[in-house]
Subunit: 339 residues, 2 copies
Amino acid sequence: MSKVTLKKIAEALDLSTATVSKALKDYSDISLETKLKVKALADSLNYKPNPFAQSLRNKESKIIGLIIPEIVHDFFANIILGVTKTAEKYGYLVITLQSDESYGVEKKQIELLLSRNVDGILISLADNTVNYNHIKEIKRARVPVVLYDKISKSIEGHKIVIDDQKAAYNATKHLIDCGCKRIAHVRGALKPQTTIDRFIGYKMALKDHNITFDNSIVFEAKSLTFEEGKRIAYEIALKHRDIDGVFAFCDLLATGVLVGLKEHGIKIPDDVSIIGFSNWLLSTVTTPTLSTINQSGFQMGEEAFKLLLEEIDDIKKGRDIKYKTVEIPTKVIVRNSTK
Amino acid sequence: MSKVTLKKIAEALDLSTATVSKALKDYSDISLETKLKVKALADSLNYKPNPFAQSLRNKESKIIGLIIPEIVHDFFANIILGVTKTAEKYGYLVITLQSDESYGVEKKQIELLLSRNVDGILISLADNTVNYNHIKEIKRARVPVVLYDKISKSIEGHKIVIDDQKAAYNATKHLIDCGCKRIAHVRGALKPQTTIDRFIGYKMALKDHNITFDNSIVFEAKSLTFEEGKRIAYEIALKHRDIDGVFAFCDLLATGVLVGLKEHGIKIPDDVSIIGFSNWLLSTVTTPTLSTINQSGFQMGEEAFKLLLEEIDDIKKGRDIKYKTVEIPTKVIVRNSTK
DNA sequence: CTGAAAGCGCTAACAC
DNA sequence: GTGTTAGCGCTTTCAG
């Protein structure tokens, strides 16, 4: 059973390939009769256009690239899902690549995607990416790019973000609303923008509620791990018994803090309230369950793809584009670690 | 800056496109001098062959499809990672699709991948897939397929699996080695092969160690959730106080059981030892930490891709293939929920 | 050692 | 309404 092509259908019907092609695409200058005949045969032969030929001719692959820092991660996995499901709906397929949070890998993968002529690229920048030549490379190749989640202000283009400052503000405010007076923050490493923004949101909330900011109860996590959260909890238990609230950079750290404090006989939430960030699966299984900030990866992926598609269409039609930054809403999820 | 093509290089060097093409591919019938000249110019012009044209000519896309029941899942996410990283190494890119554990979606996605002429497909069957016409469809299109994780014995082809019976046997044996005499099993739904196999392994271990099997302490989870684990724990706490060990189908259920039993004042592992399955992140953050079975998704993905590549090559070279089933080893991870 | 030519399968401008 | 033609960019005989 060799492949059925336009030519075969044309020969069988004694038409030209051009007519067959147009008939299948419902061109207005083809007679109804011919269209019917052609479609009937194409159907019965189960004709499928050859995508290689179409791509060559149309100069588009209907495939986009998606670069993710880390696939095994609830939030990013949901982004993959949002992107692929939405793309599918619009006739696009997605090639997913993991950058391992490395600038070097990220750069290589962009080249790889470009060399395969993808129609667009979705990328979340690695934490150690400080140089944007690789992104400019994409622009130079006139391929649409949309930055999502970890973006850079110094790059022009569509962007999808969450408002980390606002989310952190709300998390901290929730602790304040629970009656906390002395609220610690467990932050991430110094550089990434998300860390900085969540720290800023935390400080703003304190200020707006007349709580003096005290840098001695801001703890920098050396790694975003459960163990590191526990280590910091020990420090709190030993040296900072007056703390009555903790806002942690992410759920894994928060879980470590929760378990670590409990080991020292500190009651959650009676003695200390804790809130995390991201709404990972594990925040639903701790005892008590962990309050957190929900950020919908699916929605972010969905919006990211839609913006990319918009840019693809704009470029195709030669429209000029005004770049947008879309914000995905976040929400405080109240569970039992805050009262 | 319009695209540089073979033709441009040929004209610039006053050669034919054929010669340029061959020079770049180091054909033996091209003079060294010409090769050097061509390569130098191609390099300086940053020539990249047009993949659409190559695909059309060579009838291969260098892209494979990967169908996953559920992306947001530690194990499957690791499989994606193993597949894509390995594929990348061999010059292939991966299109990932989620079947939502649905036969209907799975079937559609296969058609989609086939219509895009992928060079091969990797698939883990949805739990409710009982009909294999869609897999036969792939074979009919002469596209290589490899089944991984959730396979079917009635399909011919390469397969990658873990030995669920053996793994469950070892999990149960570990409980026995810990001194447990009355071991419950929290199983999954009736049908999927994994559920059945883990149940069989459990029974075999009991038998080999002279423990009488008792169906009244086999609990069927209606869903693989934390809450369901808790519900079953309550049942155990109320009606089966003599149970001193629990082997759960997966870590999420095990975590529910652990928390549920603790709520009833049952000490883990002193009163009851618990072991889960899959080694999810959450098994490292429970109190006590959860013993479990590790199954390497990365390795499974890696092996799956390699087998697929083997089949692709075999078909290309017209070799006949003898189908293999590769087993990925599992390991008992001893943590603090078993003693 | 090099090149002419054919063709992969499809599309679109243009002619009839 | 339909067909002719001319590619898209690459690879591979086969002839010279």
